[in-house]
């Protein structure tokens, strides 16, 4: 089974939409060494995360390699309603991309 690259949960709470997302990514810093070969493991991490709601960009995250493996992101925004769709997409430093959306519940 293919692993889902992004899991999103969005919920209305007191007029504010609360979005929680879990992404599946190695987030290599480029500083770690392969213990067997002694060579550095090349950096591989998510750089940009964009969250949109109804065509509006709600949040743009710029991440460095110091974000933990399998990153978690949570944020809140106003002006949403139940049933709206939130889209989250990321791009990493090697050109990898993923995108997913969820309905606000």
């Amino acid at each position: 089974m293919a692993k889902k690259k992004i899991r999103i949960r969005a919920k209305m709470k007191g007029g504010v939409a609360e979005v929680k997302a879990l992404m599946s990514h190695a987030m290599e810093t480029g500083l770690r060494k392969n213990k067997k070969t002694g060579k550095k493991i090349p950096a591989h991490f998510i750089q940009d995360v964009t969250c949109t709601h109804k065509g509006n960009t709600v949040l743009v995250a710029s991440w460095g390699p110091a974000i933990s493996k399998n990153p978690y992101l949570s944020f809140k925004f106003k002006g949403a309603a139940k049933g709206d769709t939130v889209t989250i997409s990321w791009a990493d430093n090697k050109g990898g991309k993923a995108s997913a959306d969820a309905k606000i519940g």
Partner: protein, 153 residues
């Protein structure tokens, strides 16, 4: 020295101008401009200068950093930054990491001043949250103790 401050000022306003004229947040433009220099910087001030064009922040009591006092595993330290200010941008820096700038968030007009994520910390260090509100920078600090390093595992 004066010339330098002047240059910094113009760069900052230039960046702001561009951001404003582009409707602040065009995803593609932001994608093209991942602030490499800011993330490569090894000092907090350099990182802030590269990111915001200024490193002078005012300490604020209106920024809350929710994080463990002692992180058992430096590879995964959950943090939450929240502020009551109308924030346009939030950045997180960890002083003792190889590159202090950890993440920065550009917030849309309806976005609440709240972000939560998990970060890596090499060792015990101050975590600094910087909030940009109304063109000014505010910051708050919190020390987090790390018992196992996050870099190298």
């Amino acid at each position: 020295m004066k010339r330098r401050t002047f240059l910094k000022g113009t760069v900052a306003s230039g960046v702001l101008g561009v951001a404003a004229s582009a409707g602040l947040l065009m995803p593609r433009m932001v994608l093209a401009a991942w602030p490499k220099a800011a993330f490569d910087a090894t000092k907090i001030d350099d990182g802030l200068n590269a990111l915001y064009g200024s490193a002078s922040t005012a300490a604020s009591g209106d920024i809350k950093i929710k994080a463990p006092d002692i992180a058992e595993n430096g590879a995964v330290v959950p943090i939450t930054i929240s502020t009551g200010m109308k924030a346009s941008s939030i950045a997180v820096l960890i002083e003792k990491n190889p590159s202090p700038l950890t993440c920065s968030y550009e917030l849309g007009g309806d976005t609440v001043g709240f972000v939560s994520c998990r970060v890596k910390m090499g060792k015990t260090s101050d975590l600094i949250a910087v909030v940009k509100s109304g063109g000014k920078l505010y910051s708050a600090k919190r020390k987090i103790k790390v018992t196992i390093g996050g870099c190298g595992g």
